[in-house]
Amino acid sequence: MTAIDAAFRRLRASGEKGLVVYLTAGDPTPAASLRYLRAAADAGADIIEVGVPFSDPTADGPTIEAASRRALSSGMNVAGALELVRKFRGTHATPIVLFGYFNPFYRYGWSSLCKDAREAGVDGFLVVDLPFEESGEALPSIRKAGLDWIPLAAPTSGMARVRAVDRAGSGFLYLISVTGVTGVRKTLPPPVAAWTRKVAKATRLPVAVGFGISSPAMAAAATRHADAAVVGSACVKIVERNGRGSRGPAELSRFVRSLKKALR
């Protein structure tokens, strides 16, 4: 059983919904980014997705795109993200998913990447632009290192694909709430609930709903039929507003607490 499996088991046992927080590694600097990660974990995030910045993040909206740019100009890359996780592991046990685009991971080399990630304390990978059809060169290394490969399902996927990715992946299923790029939204359209229920019923993996969730109320609504909510851009906006300032981690901490409270 992986750390991610254990986290969902614990959540289910306690009747809570999970909170997955996304932050971009190195945003705005490696040191500040570590403080934000720790703040999110201390405030009760169940799993943290650490985003490895990429120069051409085509699945991201303006908020995470800007975070990627800040992170890249602070010198962040795959090795830096692993170093960040290693430091975080010195103090925290919260499961970490390395989140990113295929190319930087590929350049590092899947086999050494998975070994180094395991050593650094990474628990799983989520590769935005790697559908399961192309996962052949990454998946064996991920499995061999005992890491999870988090699959994605989109509103356009259709149930046959949802079942296929559910079988191919492990850890949890990331259910993309709406067609589009990442970014905060004020509301999620009504079909999301019905669709989430359908997916949750048909799959074996825990389901985490993400894209657009920006408030405790939205997180609660999104998890009515799912196991967890993913909150990304709304957290990144706090980093964007506060930068390296000491008030940033405190503000993130308050926000994460409010989200988690809505999920209990």
């Binding site: 990429f54 120069s55 051409d56 993040p57 085509t58 699945a59 909206g61 795109e65 890249l72 890359n77 795959v78 090795a79 685009y101 295929f102 190319n103 930087p104 991971f105 590929y106 350049r107 590092y108 935005v128 632009d129 790697l130 559908p131 059809e133 192309e134 994605l152 399902a153 989109a154 509103p155 356009t156 996927s157 259709g158 694909r161 990715v165 993309i176 067609t179 589009g180 790029v181």
Partner: protein, 405 residues
Amino acid sequence: MAKRKGNRMPDPAGHFGSFGGRYVAETLMSALIELEKAYRKAWGDRSFHRELDGLLKSYAGRPTPLYFAGRLTEKAGGARIYIKREDLAHTGSHKINNTLGQGLLARRMGKRRVIAETGAGQHGVATATVCARMGIPCEIYMGEEDVRRQSHNVFRMRLLGARVNPVTSGSRTLKDAMNEALRDWVTNVRTTYYLIGSTAGPHPYPEMVRDFQSVIGREALPQFRKAEGKLPTAVVACVGGGSNAMGIFTSFLRYPGVRLYGVEAGGLGLSSGKHGATLSRGKVGVLHGSKSFLLQDATGQILEAHSISAGLDYPGVGPEHAWLKETGRAEYVSVTDAQALSGFSLLSLYEGIQPALESSHAVAFAYRLAKKMRSSETVLVNLSGRGDKDMGILMEMGEGGRDGD
């Protein structure tokens, strides 16, 4: 009508050897599968070809002529130089071959909106043209730098009723326009057709765009045979994403005696680091949905390309070219900004043909190649487009009347 025998490449999952494939967000997967099915159905349907061939003839002006460049040949003093005149196609470049094909496909698929990326603006103009003809609204993404340097084409697109969205991220060129078009598509995927303009992007685009462009080679081969009674010694085309090059290469692939040359943007010179010579200097990676060579740093971040020609200013290249390079079937070379300007001048002054700056790269290399060849040998150049759009850049560069030797 030419035979439409299926090409063996790519495999059913869109792989050209280890290149190509479909590296996209899950949200786009179903749309790509739907597109692939629709494309296969259309390509196997006589009525689709009847309509497409009719339009290529009556609307786009095909077949384009093959021209013997006598004075250029004389000046080079080597191989005989022939030019396939894609510059004479409607809208001024080969791009119309692909936009007509995909435009018909979009209509068959019942899509109500078309989006496209453009670099030089030729693909944008060709897309806007086809959309105007079909009465489908279209939006074009174009990097702000390209909007500036190809303003002539921006004006044309707007006059054709298209909306042009300048893109301000990254290097503000073709790569960034494609990023933004992908973001639009992932958001509006159910209603929108994404009309990619080169043999790049996720499967089935590299295959489909090649097939639509392969009309160039299907015409050029018999035209050349008729003129010379044999096949050309060498075929030369410029390579941005690679569509005009695949368009002319495809018919010649099965003749191993015909040398194929793809000419990339050498920019300020390969050692300057400011170039678009992806196949010469890039490393394997994934950008915009397929695996190919890329300009990237050691940590996998994409580098900015540089070229005087917006259409070659791209850090990626179509996966089939990566495969042709790997197998050695085609050779890839580069031509600098300055050499391309010389190519432009040569063709202007010796033949009265003003090529697009993209195509000028092919001309410059073909001339250099022809010089070293025997007079019994021949070079066929694909002149992908005309230079009207580049007058602004040429004026900025203070070009005029050099003979470019």
